[in-house]
């Protein structure tokens, strides 16, 4: 492999597998391709799609996970988005939310801006960083067996936050665009959770 930061897994297939039979899962997506990937797997009122605020995804997930301890919150984001929120991994590690799972679709590149290499494409290991920070589990997933194990792990209880760096190919599938109205998707999720909508 020319670039060790790039994987062989197909991002759309990975996300579709993780969201198959999603049950009570709540999902927060990082801007760019992860937002399109989650939408392509099927729009759902339990999804909150970010279209900006780079670095926010895992921390929106933290606030949601702390408010709803009875639900598993899955953050689906990219390597560039998570790298911008690297300090947030420290905040999540000490907050210890057992119901928060972060999946980083890691292709080692900034796909939205012209496929420039990211830090992970230049050797940085996000799972090791999360493990050193104190995540309950932090793994790099490189093959389909790992994806199946991850899909299972999401449904199981944990003792603290988990992060999985899933090594995907560096390509840009056709965009699948969810609503861009942040108020609409906010109120849609709150209604889905039985909360008041203003």
């Amino acid at each position: 492999m020319v670039n060790p930061g790039v994987g062989i897994l197909d991002r759309r297939a990975v996300v579709a597998r993780l969201l198959r039979d999603r049950q009570d899962l709540l999902v927060v997506t990082g801007l760019g391709s992860p937002t399109y990937d989650v939408h392509a797997a099927g729009d759902h009122p339990g999804n909150y799609y970010l279209w900006g605020a780079m670095g926010a995804a895992a921390l929106v997930g933290l606030g949601l996970a702390q408010a709803r301890r009875d639900r598993t919150v899955l953050v689906v984001t990219g390597d560039g988005e998570q790298l911008m929120g690297l300090g947030g991994l420290a905040t999540i590690a000490i907050a210890k939310p057992a119901n928060l799972v972060i999946v980083v679709l890691d292709n080692g590149h900034y796909g939205e801006t012209g496929m420039q290499r990211s830090h992970t494409g230049l050797g940085l290991d996000l799972a090791s960083i999360a493990e050193a920070a104190g995540f309950a589990q932090a793994l790099t997933v490189t093959d389909q067996a790992g994806v199946e194990a991850l899909a299972q792990a999401i449904k199981e209880p944990a003792s603290g936050p988990r992060l999985y760096a899933v090594k995907i190919t560096a390509d840009n599938p056709q965009r699948s665009l969810p609503p861009r109205d942040g108020v609409h998707i906010k109120n849609r999720m709150r209604a889905h959770l039985g909360l008041g909508v203003s």
């Binding site: 709540l26 927060v28 909150y48 970010l50 900006g52 605020a53 780079m54 670095g55 926010a56 995804a57 921390l59 929106v60 997930g61 933290l62 606030g63 949601l64 996970a65 702390q66 408010a67 709803r68 929120g85 300090g87 947030g88 420290a90 905040t91 000490i94 907050a95 942040g182 108020v183 998707i185 906010k186 999720m189 709150r190 959770l193 909360l195 008041g196 203003s198």
Partner: protein
């Protein structure tokens, strides 16, 4: 769910005016704040301590202030109210993240202690002190400034209603004059 209580005006009836952290804490509790996030600041030390001791509030220590903007949004998605405490220098760290709160009209209540504006001995605090309120205004966050403890408690109560009731993004600015000169 929409428990809106305006009790700020009587919050200081028995209180020592210098005990504004306790008065603010009571106002925020009346508004059912369940999550609090912060980067430590001397001016907020009492309020941080009160929240950290409260078993009904989740307190998140942040590495940088913008993290709290995102946590507040997530808390609201899940039905909880949150408050974000920081020093004025932290406002500069928040600017792009505040687009999340403003574009999606997430209720946001920030309480900002000022540096760099009153009897400031550290020149490095001055630039961000000058920029704090203009920067917040530029990104669409309304600022409400308090110069006395009495005003502060009333303003926090008003800000809580504006944020959690009217989906506004509000920063309560605690003036450095109110906080007192930092002992060095």
């Amino acid at each position: 769910m929409s428990k809106i209580t305006v009790a700020a005006s009587d919050s200081l009836e028995e209180a020592d005016p210098l005990d504004w952290p306790n008065a603010i804490y009571r106002v925020l509790k009346q508004h059912d704040v369940r999550q609090m996030s912060y980067v430590p600041d001397a001016g907020h030390s009492r309020l941080i301590e009160l929240f950290r001791k409260d078993p009904d509030v989740v307190a998140n220590l942040l590495t940088s202030e913008e993290e709290g903007v995102a946590i507040s949004a997530g808390a609201w998605l899940g039905g909880q109210r949150s408050v974000l405490l920081m020093q004025s220098s932290g406002v500069g760290n928040c600017i792009n993240m505040l687009s999340l709160a403003t574009i999606a009209r997430f209720p946001l209540l920030m309480i900002v202690t000022m540096r760099g504006e009153w009897a400031e001995f550290n020149p490095w605090q001055v630039p961000m002190g000058l920029a704090t309120e203009p920067a917040l205004a530029a990104i669409g966050v309304r600022t409400l400034r308090a110069d006395t403890p009495e005003d502060l408690v009333a303003i926090v109560g008003s800000a809580a209603v504006l944020a959690y009731g009217a989906d506004q993004q509000i920063a309560v600015i605690i003036s450095q004059r109110l906080l007192g000169v930092k002992q060095w």
